[in-house]
Amino acid sequence: MNDGPLIVQSDKTLLLEVDHERAGECRRAIAPFCELERAPEHVHTYRVTPLALWNARAAGHDAEQVVDALIEYSRYPVPHALLVDVADTMGRYGRLRLEKHPGYGLVLVSSDRAVLEEVLRAKKIKPLLGDRVTDDTVVVHPSERGTLKQALLKLGWPAEDLAGYVDGEAHPIDLVETGWSLRPYQKDAAEAFWAGGSGVVVLPCGAGKTTVGAAAMAHAGATTLILVTNTVSVHQWKQELLRRTSLTEDEIGEYSGTKKEIRPVTIATYQVMTARRKGVYAHLELFDARDWGLVLYDEVHLLPAPIFRMTADLQARRRLGLTATLVREDGREGDVFSLIGPKRYDAPWKEMENQGWIAPADCVEVRVTLTDSERLAYATAEPEERYRFCATTETKTQVVQRLVERHRGEQTLVIGQYIDQLDELGERLGAPVIKGETKIKERERLFDGFRSGEIHCLVVSKVANFSIDLPEASVAVQVSGSFGSRQEEAQRLGRVLRPKADKGSARFYSVVARDTLDQDFAAHRQRFLAEQGYAYRIVDADDV
């Protein structure tokens, strides 16, 4: 028997004991072919999925390496069936390849005729293909390159795309590293992407994905189309690019609901791209407006379905996806794999935190016991009103006041969902409130004040979740807001807990009403945070 740090489970999860002396090397060995699922304090859980295995294949790893790594680090015997399954799955990638043929153009080539026969018989594949020119080669309609890859992945025979890319219209872009420099992992990520051609870079929130994007643009030295989630992001990206690269204001265009500029580097929102007029996408021509050398997707895990369809037609252009997580709530990880590309770089949250790139956080759940009258009112509230009721009780407000009082002098954000509650809190705490209706100008003024330290406490509504320019804080108090989804939560935390000048740890409070729906949401949050490896405590409000 081995004394390895890894335990292989029959459901294809891998348990890694992090305090083991060989944990570090083991993590590096297994990271290429599995996704980190949970990272609580002692034992991390990784999952081996077909996509993860194919990602590993795309990165040049073979089944033998995977099997060796599992056996090398596994504490217990690894079941034969699992190893066979791994080898089988990995063997499926690359049997089919998309290549450029001097005579026929884009072709699908197979190294295994049986596989080719199988996919040729599939109903969904047939219309995408042209003539069969040799036993192993079939012509592919160039316009179906993406759709074909999608369909093949669904059949379980992912194709390796070796057909290359168009260079696009050259446009020199250089990084200007004055007053900052590219962090080593950012450099690695950009280079890994460039070497792979197309693909996804996975970095935790706050790790500087924008900078990786800028570095990739410098590599490409070509006109670039950047797709981001919303208008605030557009501004953020523009600022970052101006700061980090040789690009000037004139070279960067903004393509959103209000402005329609097309420049060598154009930043567009998903929203405007998916806007339809009379049933057709009104802005599709943007993709052809220039001969783009690089298409960059921000927050790939939020990429809406229509963008996938448009991306299927962009397979000849280099594509870079940036995201904090490959997990999509809609389960369309396969589309990301086939249409944007395989994972090219990945760094775990906790490791970056240890290196000081992102802030460690201390999470505290404060349980508030409602008064008898509040409980009675809660029990009799209408079902749709119940959450609002328990989330906004007076008792909670008092606890929030105490918490803010305790951290007086530190930069504190109070986050909530219900405007009435936020207004009341703002009044009682004497702090400005930022909500949906707050003007952009006003918002920016308040944020600047918060950043410079003139304002110590801000009360913000749910918009904070999605606003990229939310200033860093050392204390965040969440008073209401359901547990939306894992990525929403990751976002919220990532935005608030930016690296701080003093590298001190940030504190994240959730104030929760005991024995109510609020507590159920809190349980999800607790699980999520603990799984992300954050210290998590539960205290009673009386102890605050």
Partner: protein
């Protein structure tokens, strides 16, 4: 020494012993004397059974002896290589070869007839020609320029055969197309089918290649539609070689080399998985047993459900089911209609992992059921279900053993080469079913963890030989641990199989989230409540966690336990079948105080409510009989809690499986002595005088001391009649004496208590 029987008589006792041990059918029953033994050995059925046990090398030697013109040992060595000498020795011990005149070797009687086309060669020209009619012989002789003067049929055949002894010029003469046609038959089978084989063909008018061959006697018609290639022609075409490849050396399955450590790791991992799968399935079936089909067996749907549950293919699920059944862990409940885990299953669960696996693997090795057949169609085109007799193949246990035995050390062979090696070992057993059984065996062995990545695990040898499998496997399997890792996301990771007590407590307090080498448990409010419901207290639970955690208990976890504990039991729920309600508490006081109402088992829930365990009807009537006048309320209120009990079937009585008819050494020796005795001109008569009488205490001693010698005993038969026998004791056990009874010429068992006395002869 000119008869086979004489030769046998000349063999030593040890040699004869070896013979009957290797061919036990020769002494069941024991023949009267060696002459009878020789006759039995020549019988077609006995020869065929003997040949069935031979490997390719032995068969090749027999075939060579059959076709070589002068089959001496030297000629054999020249034809087949020096190592054929050992094979000859072996065949002699089996009584299949025996020495002929002038150092030649002879096939035992009956062997030649059992070999069709030895070495793929046809009969000699002399034999084939002898069957031709005279006019055809005359024609041939004419065409081949053999003198027909003074021709008689045998004489002509002889001369023609001599002509054909060197067929080279004739073959050349027939032309290249004709030679190509001959080459088809050269390596056997040496017969071809053509229409009108006995046609008249003269050398002059022969046109087609076949005609040209027939005209030259290179092919000879043996019936209307068959032509045969005479042995001499065949040998000439082969350049005198009997076998194309080396038939003497046993082929070893070849494939990728694998380090044994790796193989063991993978195999034992799979072995552990099998245990988990078996347990998971039987635990589930203990609560929700699948029905037995009308024709016996397990329905396709149930098997599919089991496969889904275990996340296996149906084929692998069938293996789990069949192996569990073969091991006696699963059976139909005493003729009832459900498949249930047996009581043996409960005992099985108590053993350690290695012992549990050994039991399963052993049962798999022995069972004559073939899981691979499940889901296929039988000859009447009905689906073969799991757990039916339809998937019994009596050769399955033997094929499994042979397949495992042939796997080499440290190599993962490909199926092709395994089949080749097996075919060499038992060339006469090759069949479609055999090959499929081998293929299934390889798959099942991998699934069970007998092999890892195709190579044999180190403990597989012990499994085959009945050695200490559990010991060898146990060293590879994870040790039970009594510590878990608790984490703030409310999970507990048991980094290995848990000691049973802790496993039970944790299963009660937390939900299992993932299984395998380790177990991941998740604590939820519901799971903690379940533990509290089962009578654990908050402090007990916290203590349990603290004691078995290698790290401090995370604060959120202890908070969870306390928080659930705080709310636990605030609401109380009880059972009442009926109640009495009255707005006036005084009226209820009155009922409770009434002594006649004591039998009503009333108790007070609230000032205005009494509950009772009596049914509403009974309570109504009882109250009325005591003089009250209650009225029934609407019919709700009864609550019956039932728990479905996990049931068990009786374990089936499994008779020990006998593989081959194995002859006990001593029995064989006794049989030989008996045969020798039979040879003595007259059988020994009973000594004069009364049957012996011996005090019973010394009887056993005396019998034991006399093993292998000849004794005279007095014996009471089943009707109580006294008789006397001359016997040779073989063994004494279990209250019986096994002995060769000379009087009856057979091995018999005598009840010790009926032996009246013993005397040495």
């Amino acid at each position: 020494m000119d008869s086979y029987g004489d030769w046998l008589r000349g063999r030593t006792d040890d040699q004869l012993c070896a013979l009957v041990s290797a061919r036990p059918e020769l002494i069941t029953p024991v023949p009267a004397d060696l002459g009878a033994l020789a006759a039995r050995a020549a019988a077609p059925s006995a020869v065929s059974r003997a040949l069935d046990r031979l490997d390719r090398a032995a068969l090749a030697v027999l075939e060579a002896v059959a076709v070589l013109p002068s089959p001496t040992l030297t000629a054999l060595k020249k034809a087949l290589g020096a190592r054929s000498a050992e094979v000859v020795e072996r065949l002699r011990d089996l009584g299949l070869l025996w020495p002929g005149p002038s150092r030649s070797l002879r096939l035992a009687p009956g062997v030649r007839a059992a070999l069709t086309h030895p070495a793929g060669l046809g009969p000699s020209a002399r034999e084939t020609l002898a069957a031709l009619p005279l006019e055809r012989l005359l024609e041939l002789a004419e065409d081949l320029g053999v003198s027909t003067a003074f021709a008689s049929a045998p004489g002509l055949a002889e001369s023609l055969a001599e002509r054909l002894a060197d067929p080279g010029p004739l073959v050349e003469d027939a032309g290249p197309e004709a030679r190509a046609a001959l080459e088809h038959l050269a390596w056997g089978p040496p017969t071809g089918r053509i229409d009108n084989a006995r046609r008249r063909v003269g050398l002059a008018e022969a046109r087609s290649p076949v005609d040209r061959l027939l005209a030259r006697g290179l092919l000879i018609a043996t019936d209307d539609r068959t032509v045969t290639l005479p042995r001499e022609v065949g040998l000439y075409l082969r350049g005198g070689v009997l076998f194309r490849e080396d038939v003497i050396t046993a082929p070893v399955p070849s494939g990728t080399r694998r380090p044994q450590r790796l193989t063991d790791q993978i195999a034992s991992g799979q072995a552990f998985t099998l245990l988990r799968l078996t347990e998971e399935l039987l635990e589930h079936w203990g609560v929700r047993p699948p029905p037995v089909l009308r024709g016996g067996g397990l329905g396709v749907r149930e098997l599919r459900a089991a496969a889904g549950r275990l996340d296996l293919t149906e084929r692998d699920a069938a293996i789990v089911v069949e192996v569990a059944h073969a091991a006696g862990l699963l059976d139909r409940d005493g003729g009832s209609s459900e498949w249930l885990p047996t009581r043996s299953y409960d005992l099985w669960l108590l053993r350690d992992a290695a012992a549990r696996w050994t039991e399963l693997a052993g049962a798999w090795l022995e069972t004559d059921r073939v899981p691979g057949l499940v889901g296929e169609r039988d000859d009447r085109d009905r689906t073969i279900n799991a757990l039916t007799d339809g998937n019994i193949r009596s050769s399955a246990p033997r094929v499994r053993r042979e397949t495992l035995a042939v796997l080499p050390e440290g190599v993962a062979p490909d199926e092709e080469s395994v089949l080749r090696a097996l075919a060499w070992r038992n060339p006469r057993r090759a069949s479609g079913l055999h090959d499929r059984l081998v293929s299934w065996t390889l798959h099942e062995a991998a699934f069970l963890g007998v092999t890892g990545f195709g190579a044999r695990a180190s403990y597989a040898g012990a499994l085959l030989s009945g050695g200490d499998v559990a010991g060898e496997l146990g060293a590879l399997l994870p040790e039970p641990v009594d510590q878990v890792v608790l984490q703030a996301d409310l999970t507990a990771v048991a980094p290995g199989p848990l000691v049973p007590d802790l496993a039970r407590e944790l299963a009660l307090t937390a939900d299992v989230e993932s299984k395998g080498g380790a177990t991941v448990y998740r604590f939820t409010p519901e799971s903690v409540r379940r533990a509290l419901d089962a009578g654990r207290t908050v402090s007990e639970l916290l203590d349990l966690l603290a004691r078995h955690s290698s790290t401090p208990v995370p604060q959120p976890l202890s908070y969870l336990v306390e928080d659930v504990g705080r709310r636990h039991g605030r609401l109380r729920v009880g059972t009442a079948l009926s109640y009495v309600r009255c707005d006036d508490p005084a009226a209820l006081d009155e009922i409770l105080a009434d002594r006649r109402a004591a039998t009503l088992r009333l108790y007070r829930l609230a000032p205005t409510v009494l509950a009772s365990r009596l049914s509403r009807q009974d309570l109504l009537e009882s109250l009325r009989s005591v003089g009250f006048s209650p009225v029934p309320e609407s019919p709700e209120g009864g609550l019956v809690v039932t728990r479905t009990d996990a049931r068990r079937a009786e374990p089936p009585a499994r008779p020990p499986v006998e593989h081959e008819h194995v002859v006990d050494e001593r029995v064989a020796a006794a049989a030989i002595r008996a045969l020798r005795a039979g040879e003595e001109a007259a059988s020994v008569g009973a000594p004069e005088g009364e049957p012996p009488r011996t005090p019973s205490i010394s009887l056993i001693e005396e019998l034991r001391a006399a093993l292998g010698t000849r004794l005279w005993i007095g014996y009471l038969d089943q009707q109580g009649r006294a008789s006397s026998r001359i016997i040779e004791p073989v063994r004494v056990d279990g209250g019986f004496l096994t002995a060769y009874d000379q009087t009856r010429a057979s091995i018999q068992r005598f009840a010790l208590h009926r032996i009246t006395g013993v005397r040495k002869i």
